[in-house]
């Protein structure tokens, strides 16, 4: 959590406490982790929301914590802790340990902070801890409230991907916001039961391309990934005008695909022949049912191979069409890998998904601006990121600020969050700025 821009210790006076569910979960309640959950265990979803001072006026920390108690009563899994069963498979014991809340102050005003335009600074606003080395006693979810000098407030959410995907995280914090503004929460949440379970013959017909087996330091307790390259985050804003221009160029292709194509092409150009990413991973899977329990069951993983033309030379429209049409759905393959036993004795059962290949994540339909505080205050800006990403990097495509917020224009803007190795990121910034006018 090093800040490159801005002074040191801009965020200070960090105090930690815990919030537990309002009602007892009961003894021996256990949440089994699915194969997909375990596949994603090394990744963490991070969300940040910025609000103007009007949103938090008159609200003390206790006013912010109180709805969390009620909210957690609906999500018993989030308050649990990881345990290992006898055969070594992790599960979550719903023991009401709770989520960790951090309160902090910032010596800058909200505008000053946003002006820095440095996403790595946001790490100071999102208190987080890897599940290693003490997974049994580390919270799965962290929420940080930071008060800015002007009275503005930021809410930072750190969410272990093992519990659910980014949409689950967003639904959770939205539910909290609803209870905060006085809405009555539902009595209980539904579980998603996917109906079609395709059965594949064993042994594994094909090795999935999107994941990578990793060897972890056993001291880290198999929950901590170490990168070989230094990763950095940066976000770009694609205005609706720019997006329209791109989609016109690509013709009849959806925004996510054309943006992914643009990034893929630019990265391929900057990385040179040897490191050019030929196969990329796409993570999609959208859901908007806010009253469902968190899960990873809706994650859809596909790969795209640029078999014919190298992406650096390819036409943007062609690349976008390639992405749209030649997706190979690997979701079930990936899930099956976790089932493999016996033949893989002694081999590590730890995998990464994000960053095993260059990964594009479609979060366009995430309802992040639905989080409202006091009255009808929407966030000034909201964004999501992923940490624990592998060396190939990840690209998250998020909705831009909607009309009605301060920086919102007409519908259709996008925010692109890139998590890439440091050197690649610098070159890419230059490329995108020059060729597409995107900053």
């Amino acid at each position: 959590m090093v800040s490159t821009a801005g002074e040191n210790a801009a965020v200070y006076d960090v105090r930690l406490s815990s919030v537990v569910p309002a009602s007892i979960t009961g003894e021996d309640k256990v949440h089994e982790l699915s194969n997909m959950d375990l596949m994603l265990k090394l990744h963490y979803v991070k969300g940040i929301y910025f609000f103007r001072s009007g949103a938090a006026r008159g609200l003390t920390i206790n006013d912010l914590k109180k709805p969390m108690f009620e909210c957690l009563a609906l999500y018993s899994t989030l308050s649990g802790r990881v345990r290992k069963s006898e055969d070594g498979r992790p599960f979550i014991k719903c023991n009401d340990s709770g989520v960790r809340i951090a309160e902090a102050k910032c010596s800058k005003t909200l505008d000053e902070w946003l002006a820095f335009n440095d996403d790595s600074l946001n790490d100071q606003l999102i208190y987080s801890q890897f599940l290693a080395p003490d997974a049994g006693f580390t919270p799965l979810v962290f929420v940080q409230f930071t008060w800015f000098k002007c009275g503005g407030i930021s809410i930072g959410l750190s969410w272990a991907h093992v519990v659910g995907d980014a949409f689950s995280a967003s639904h959770f914090i939205n539910m909290w916001g609803q209870i905060l503004t006085g809405q009555v929460p539902p009595h209980h949440l539904d579980t998603y039961n996917p109906k079609n379970q395709k059965k594949f013959p064993s042994p594994l017909a094909k090795v999935p391309l999107s994941i990578q087996r990793v060897l972890l330091d056993p001291d880290g307790g198999h929950w901590l990934l170490s990168n070989h390259r230094k990763m950095r985050t940066h976000s770009f804003h694609v205005t609706p005008k720019q997006l329209n221009r791109l989609t016109e160029e690509a013709k009849l292709v959806k925004p996510f695909e054309v943006i992914s194509a643009m990034i893929w092409k630019s990265l391929a150009k900057t990385s040179g022949k040897a490191e050019e990413p030929k196969i990329v991973t796409l993570i999609s899977g959208t859901w908007d049912k806010e009253n469902e329990l968190p899960s990873n069951s809706r994650v859809i993983i596909s790969t795209i191979e640029a078999a014919e033309a190298p992406p650096a030379q390819a036409d943007l429209a062609e690349l976008a069409r390639l992405i749209a049409q030649t997706q190979e759905d690997e979701t079930h393959l990936v899930e099956r890998v976790m089932d493999q036993k016996g033949s893989d004795d002694g081999e590590s059962r730890d995998f990464i998904l994000y960053g095993a290949r260059l990964t594009f994540v479609n979060l366009e339909k995430m309802n992040i601006y639905a989080l409202k505080m006091g009255g009808h205050h929407q966030p000034v800006f909201a964004s999501y990121s992923v940490s624990g990403v592998g060396d190939e990097g990840a690209v998250l495509v998020l909705p831009g600020p909607p009309p009605g917020t301060e920086s919102g224009e007409d519908e259709g803007g996008r925010v692109i969050n890139l998590i890439l190795p440091e050197n690649q990121l610098e070159e890419l910034k230059y490329q995108l700025g020059n060729e597409w006018g995107i900053h």
Partner: protein
């Protein structure tokens, strides 16, 4: 079955013998009166009505003699009525119910301990073992300042907790009874470990704008048995002031006293003490006797402080690192047993029926004069009391008392369930227990309740109440939302 029947019928016979003996001794005077009345009646019948009439006319009474004797009778009866102690009525009481935002499940407590004492895994292990065997449940509460890692005790946080607990309990009491603040004549607040200036009593008077001539007392440092001391003080004051109302507030403020060091003898209170408080409305007014729930019969206080070991067994001091906490010595249970013995020796003659006292006397004489090896007779207190409220100081205390007084599981149920739901709330725990008994619908008019509390010093104080009104199951109160779940089975060791 046939093999057991001689034993069984033997024990049944014994039971009837016991019952017969008890009935005879307890109603001895009645039995004595019966032959006397019979004799008089027989004599009257023998004399015949005419003889009785002549006897009556032969009695000569001087006018003065009649006047003097009636004067004497009136004088003696007035003296008798005036010198009787004023009855002290407990009109009603209210217990504080902590909000759900203060809840501390086991796992959360343990995780915080691990983080705070990260350099002392042995101390963490010790705390875990205590918690597993403590008898506490998952709904006990700690004040907001203690939820921080590390805890953030400050005087302001302590005052906030005091306001939260005391004002809430007093508000509930006023609402329940329709009592108004300006009618309160005597105010007593007891809180052992937090004693700011101005006192908590002054805080209450300020908040509720009580009268300028109120008699206020603030008791601090007197431990978990201070609740009974406050009741005793209120009773004594109500003897001096006729037609008065007393409000007693018993609580313990946890915020400033959370031990942050690693000494094992001082970590125990962290695991057991929890937020709680109670406000009690006492009165000696005639008009309140109709609506009062209980009448105070006896208060017995025993102090073992003269003994050095007893004095030091619950001691607040600084550990070698300078962190202050309450250290509990290993002889705590033994000293508690001794204190209990003293207390029941004093209270026994006041409450036990004559049959038990006679048995105890005979056993005492037997041990003294005949054979010192005879087992001392433990009087059966179940005959004197219908309900027992034993201070929920910890599982060990309740087990010890259950054993010593030979109580059944149902008798100690109120204490165990209070420990489970609220933890050790110090001086107010007796009131949560009483509330439990009422919530279960077990309190009947005429029932006697024995409240017994132990505390630092070492003291054992107890009070005896008699229920003087039939009590309906309350719809509000600290147990209203969870009484259906109780009693729960509390395992010997809870798996964390």
């Amino acid at each position: 079955m046939p093999q057991r029947s001689p034993e069984f019928s033997g024990s049944v016979k014994l039971k009837y013998v016991k019952l017969g003996y008890q009935y005879l001794v307890n109603h001895f005077l009645t039995f004595l009166l019966v032959p006397v009345i019979a004799g008089i009646l027989l004599e009257l019948i023998r004399l015949g009505p005419d003889e009785i009439a002549t006897l009556w006319k032969s009695l000569q009474f001087d006018f003065i003699q009649i006047l003097c004797s009636s004067y004497l009778i009136i004088f003696i009866s007035t003296l008798y009525f005036v010198s009787r102690p004023r009855p002290v009525y407990l009109v009603d009481y209210a217990c504080y119910k902590p909000p759900v935002t203060c809840r501390v499940p086991f796992s959360c407590f343990m995780e915080h301990s691990r983080l705070i004492l990260s350099t002392e895994p042995k101390s963490v292990e010790f705390q875990m073992r205590i918690l597993e065997r403590s008898g506490l449940g998952e709904e006990t509460c700690l004040p907001p300042a203690i939820h921080y890692i590390p805890p953030a005790p400050s005087m302001e946080a302590a005052r906030k907790e005091a306001e939260m607990v005391i004002f809430s309990a007093v508000d509930t009491l006023f609402k329940k009874t329709g009592l108004e603040a300006k009618d309160v004549d005597i105010l007593i607040v007891n809180c052992s470990l937090f004693s700011p200036t101005p006192s908590l009593t002054a805080m209450v008077i300020n908040k509720y704008k009580m009268r300028g001539d109120i008699k206020s007392f603030n008791l601090s440092g007197m431990g978990c048995s201070a609740g009974m001391i406050s009741i005793n003080l209120a009773r004594d004051l109500l003897q001096s002031y006729p037609n008065s109302i007393a409000v007693v507030v018993s609580t313990e403020i946890i915020t400033p006293n959370y031990y942050q060091g690693k000494e094992r003898s001082m970590l125990l209170p962290n695991c057991l003490f929890r937020m709680g408080g109670a406000a009690i409305f006492l009165s000696n007014r005639r008009s309140d006797s109709i609506r009062a729930k209980y009448r105070l019969l006896h208060v017995v206080r025993t102090h073992k402080g003269a003994d050095d070991k007893a004095y030091r067994c619950v001691f607040e001091e600084e550990d070698p690192e300078g962190k202050s906490g309450i250290s509990l010595s290993k002889d705590l249970m033994a000293i508690a047993g001794e204190a209990l013995k003293s207390n029941i020796t004093t209270i026994g003659p006041l409450v036990l029926p004559a049959s038990e006292q006679l048995l105890f006397l005979m056993s005492l004489m037997g041990r003294k004069f005949f054979n010192p090896k005879w087992k001392p007779y433990i009087p059966d207190f179940k005959q004197a009391f219908d309900h027992f409220c034993i201070h929920a100081g910890g599982r060990a205390v309740i087990d010890e008392l259950q054993k010593n007084l030979q109580l059944s599981a149902e008798h100690v149920e109120a204490s165990r369930m209070t420990l489970h739901r609220f933890g050790n709330t110090s001086s107010s725990s007796l009131w949560y227990e009483l509330s439990y008994i009422e919530a279960k619908g077990r309190m009947r008019k005429g029932n006697r309740v024995w409240q017994i509390a132990f505390g630092s010093g070492f003291k054992c104080n107890s009070a005896v109440w008699k229920c003087i009104k039939s009590i309906e199951i309350p719809t509000d109160g600290p147990w209203s939302d969870c009484i259906d779940r109780y009693p729960v089975h509390i395992p010997e060791v809870v798996k964390l």
